[in-house]
């Protein structure tokens, strides 16, 4: 086991980033023109990096599998983006955002990275406003904020329920400008299939043109992976259908360590599964927990009657409702962090109080009645309606809620055919985000020279649990403000290298390995579709490596995933041809990688004999059922080195140091 060098600069935490920026090498503008950078993925992380690097003068080649950069899954983020602006004057600061993020991550993230994230956060908002991102404003014309879980200040900026969309479109605009100038060559409908390493350095990729099926060689002086999260290893998640781990996994197989694969965020407020035909799950933004109250019936008979369709939630009187988050966590109430809220929902459902009328019976209520009445009363007061009836007040309140969350309510109604203004929403936890990912140092470089990883695809800033509205912040921080500096330090040595040729053995070998796998899939006349295996994997992951994990379940999972993987390689069927658009072939390659990741994921969860953040081991909990961390033995990052089968992966440790924050048991009570 080697020790990993995080390359965190010396000095007091508040000065590290500034000092580092002053000490790293720069590339002058003329030399940037002779340097190529490949960016795989054009979501918030890759898109912002592509735009900024092109503005600086580098030649950027960017890749995405969708038909346009505007469609990356960042587009789906609803709730908002954090920044320590302290516009509300409620005591926010860089330190507080840093502190909240480290605490929210259950003390499993790297202090220096998180501090830098908090430090650059304010500038992100300035940049986005300059680009024309239409954030919500108050009547004075200034930017508005809301609160998210796990914090006690209002620092979340938002654009209705479409914050991710607006931020991504901002990035996409900035990219479009550079595409127009020819500084970014954009390869839409292209999938990265392999990384090419020359003399120990990442020097290019093999990409498949998803329209023609052609394999293409692309070279560069550095390769940046910004391919998003791997939640789809669970089959059902709130990720897009095409979200995948493959880009990250390919570099893992070529030497990049993969860190904390087991850290997954299960989001408490998603629309419950309707049945077996389900293809993905839909999130209801966390921002709803600002105004919605979560409850289940106090009496088991009521829950049973609801599940049987014999009773409606509106018939249950106030005294018979159990607002279990407010009961268990009086100081944070409905705004506890996601992992805590998810486990609490599972606990109530498992105990027989779930209200789902679907096949699983799993659901709890998210109820806006109190908010309707509270806002309605305010409105009535403002408009001098002193004797407004209860109905009138509710109507006024519904209007206010509609202004805030209208699109979310509408989305809910479209999917469930229930009107959430009249009856509480039904929600249940679902896989949402992956804190784990490719290991990177302070410069965001992986353990392969010249290969960087940014955004959700890396492991860096969120520890064992991510706070709401912090992923957008991280993606844009990495892409706009961090990578453009740190990559220069590396590229400064390449100003005389000249362009990297692609007619070399290294490229030929990489291309051949990709071609061999494609040919295998096309020629393997198996019995079952790719989805057949993906669903099997998903079931094992959800049942045994999901919200609650134990030794036996994890051991079984490792065994079962290995079996599914073997069956997949024997029996998968991929119709169609290699040299044309072939969606089944695309899926096959991605599921092949999920089947390896899944096993490593379970191994990582088994090794981590503690509960922290989103990783909950049944064997490690306090008397009240809360996660019990073990700082003595597990205050580290687990980074895995590829050696063939997942069972052979070699474990490495990055010890975490907390010099600016005292390690405490996380409490939201």
């Amino acid at each position: 086991m080697t020790k990993l060098d995080s390359k965190v600069p010396e000095g007091p935490i508040a000065d590290k980033w500034t000092n580092h920026k002053n000490n790293i090498k720069l590339v002058n503008p003329a030399n940037k023109r002779s340097i190529d950078v490949i960016i795989v993925g054009t979501g918030l992380a890759g898109g912002s990096a592509a735009a900024t690097l092109a503005e600086l003068g580098y030649n950027v080649k960017a890749f995405c599998y969708q038909d346009s950069p505007r469609r990356a899954h960042s587009i789906a983020a609803q709730g908002g983006i954090n920044a320590a602006k302290n516009y509300q004057g409620d005591g926010d600061s860089t330190y507080r955002l840093f502190y909240d993020t480290v605490k929210g991550g259950d003390y499993r993230s790297r202090e220096a990275n998180v501090y830098r994230l908090a430090e650059v956060s304010a500038n992100i908002i300035d940049q986005c406003v300059a680009q024309g991102v239409p954030f919500a404003r108050d009547y004075g014309g200034l930017l508005d904020n809301r609160s998210f879980g796990g914090v006690q200040v209002s620092r979340t900026f938002y654009a209705k329920g479409q914050t991710g969309q607006q931020l991504l479109l901002g990035c996409y605009s900035a990219m479009s400008r550079q595409i127009g100038k020819g500084k970014i060559q954009m390869y839409n409908r292209h999938e990265m299939m392999e990384v090419v390493i020359v003399d120990g350095k990442a020097r290019g990729i093999i990409a498949r043109n998803l329209i023609t099926g052609e394999l293409e060689r692309h070279s560069a002086h550095a390769v940046v992976i910004a391919s998003g999260g791997y939640g789809n290893v669970f089959f059902l998640s709130t990720n897009a259908m095409g979200s995948n781990v493959s880009a990250g996994w390919k570099i893992h197989k070529k030497g990049a360590y993969f860190a904390n694969p087991c850290y997954t965020q299960i989001h408490p407020t998603c629309i419950p599964q309707h049945g077996d035909q389900q293809s993905k799950l839909t999130l209801m933004s966390e921002s709803l927990r600002n105004d919605g109250r979560i409850w289940v019936p106090k009496k088991k008979e009521d829950a049973e009657a609801i599940r049987a369709g014999k009773m409606k939630p509106t018939e249950i009187v106030e005294e018979d409702r159990d607002y279990y988050l407010e009961r268990r966590y009086p100081s944070f109430g409905n705004l506890v962090p996601r992992d805590v809220a998810s486990r609490a929902a599972k606990e109530r459902s498992d105990a027989g109080f779930g209200v789902g009328t679907n096949e699983t019976g799993e659901a709890v209520y998210l109820d806006f009645t109190s908010a309707f009445m509270r806002y309605g009363q305010e409105e009535a007061n403002v408009h001098g309606l002193n004797d407004a009836s209860q109905e009138k007040i509710r109507e006024l309140g519904e209007q206010v809620v509609e202004d805030k969350y209208g699109n979310l309510f509408q989305m809910y109604e479209k999917i469930t055919a229930d009107n959430p203004y009249k009856t509480p929403m039904k929600i249940y936890p679902a896989v949402h985000y992956t804190m784990g990912g490719v290991w990177v140092d302070y410069n965001l470089m992986t353990t392969i020279d010249g290969c960087y990883c940014i955004g959700e695809a890396n492991f860096s800033d969120h520890g064992a649990n991510r706070l709401g509205a912090s992923a957008l912040m991280q993606g844009l921080a990495d892409g706009y403000f961090v990578l453009p500096y740190t990559i220069g330090d590396y590229l400064a040595d390449d100003i005389r290298t000249g362009s990297i040729p692609t007619d070399t053995d290294e490229f030929a070998e990489a291309e051949k390995s990709v071609k061999d796998q494609i040919d295998f899939f096309i020629n393997n006349k198996g019995e079952h579709s790719v989805d057949h295996f993906h669903k099997q994997l998903g079931k094992v992951m959800w049942n045994k490596v999901g919200m609650a994990r134990d030794t036996k379940g994890l051991q079984d999972a490792i065994k079962e995933i290995k079996e599914i993987r073997a069956a997949f390689w024997k029996d998968v069927k991929v119709p169609g041809a290699a040299d044309s658009m072939n969606l089944e072939l695309e899926k096959a390659g991605r599921v092949a990688d999920f089947l390896e990741l899944g096993e490593l994921f379970a191994r990582d969860a088994l090794l981590r004999e503690e509960s922290c953040g989103g990783h909950f081991r049944e064997e490690h909990k306090s008397e009240e059922g809360e996660a019990a961390r073990d700082d003595k033995n597990f205050k580290h990052v687990s980074a895995w080195e590829y050696k063939g089968e997942p069972a052979d992966a070699v474990f490495h440790k990055e010890e975490l140091e907390y010099k600016n924050i005292e390690l405490k048991t996380r409490s939201y009570k």
């Binding site: 969708q66 469609r71 406003v129 404003r137 014309g141 654009a159 329209i211 035909q277 089944e584």
Partner: protein
């Protein structure tokens, strides 16, 4: 429910396509339209046939990838809805459903139901941005207050998902709704006002170059737009930025 599907199949952009008929059975009314398509595809794969290619990704109405022309309507029945948000409860057991790709000269078919909307990206590269670099020295976000009403109108225009339903619906295959939404968003904000006229001209001339038709104010685009983008945006663009300078 059991359904008959008439689906457009086309090998690639060169070859001619045709409608093929398929049967699907036991579809849950709670399933989405695309989940129904998944079931059709699973069935085809099991029969060793090539599944139907269609675009989709987020499946929650925001990425703009999904794009089916269902029973003669872009994104199918229902108002302000994308294909992926359409649910099977909108259909009747035993019904026959026609499924075709977007049809427009500027959106050539790539395969089956997948079309090439690259023209939208090129219109964006021609002017769909505010010329500002990431310098790290941008002025404070609250330095210029923006009236809430303007910010809200900009936001309404900005919610366009670039799906192309407006083009597919328009008898002239015009992209004016898409273009005017972007032009309006930026023109309504002080940050974007400076370049507003130039932006509008550059985007519109690229639009013409791509082979989109002229706008004759039929308003069909607004009706099918899944995000409720208003044709008021087209009027604003014409009035304020195009009429004066294109004389």
């Amino acid at each position: 429910m059991n359904l008959t599907l008439k689906v457009w199949r086309q090998k690639n952009s060169q070859e001619k396509g045709q409608l093929e008929t398929y049967q699907v059975k036991n579809i849950s009314t709670d399933s989405s339209f695309l989940e129904m398509m998944d079931i059709l595809n699973e069935q085809l794969v099991n029969e060793g046939k090539e599944p139907v290619a269609f675009d989709h990704d987020c499946r929650e109405g925001i990425c703009g990838m999904c794009s089916l022309f269902i029973n003669g309507e872009a994104h199918g029945p229902g108002e302000e809805i994308t294909t992926c948000q359409l649910h099977m409860r909108e259909f009747k057991d035993g019904e026959t459903i026609h499924i075709e790709p977007w049809r427009a000269k500027a959106f050539p078919v790539i395969k089956d139901l997948v079309v090439d909307r690259g023209a939208f990206d090129r219109i964006m590269s021609a002017g769909g941005f505010i010329s500002v670099n990431t310098s790290g020295n941008t002025q404070d976000a609250n330095a210029i207050p923006v009236p809430k009403e303007d910010a809200d109108m900009a936001m309404d225009a900005a919610t366009c998902i670039g799906c192309g339903a407006c083009v597919a619906t328009c008898k002239n295959a015009s992209a004016m709704l898409f273009v005017s939404a972007k032009v309006s968003q930026f023109a309504l904000l002080p940050q974007g006002k400076v370049e507003a006229a130039e932006r509008a001209q550059n985007m519109v001339s690229q639009m013409d170059e791509e082979g989109f038709g002229n706008c004759t104010n039929t308003g069909a685009c607004e009706v099918e737009c899944p995000k409720g983008i208003s044709i008021e945006n087209i009027a604003r663009m014409n009035r304020e930025y195009l009429s004066s300078s294109f004389k």
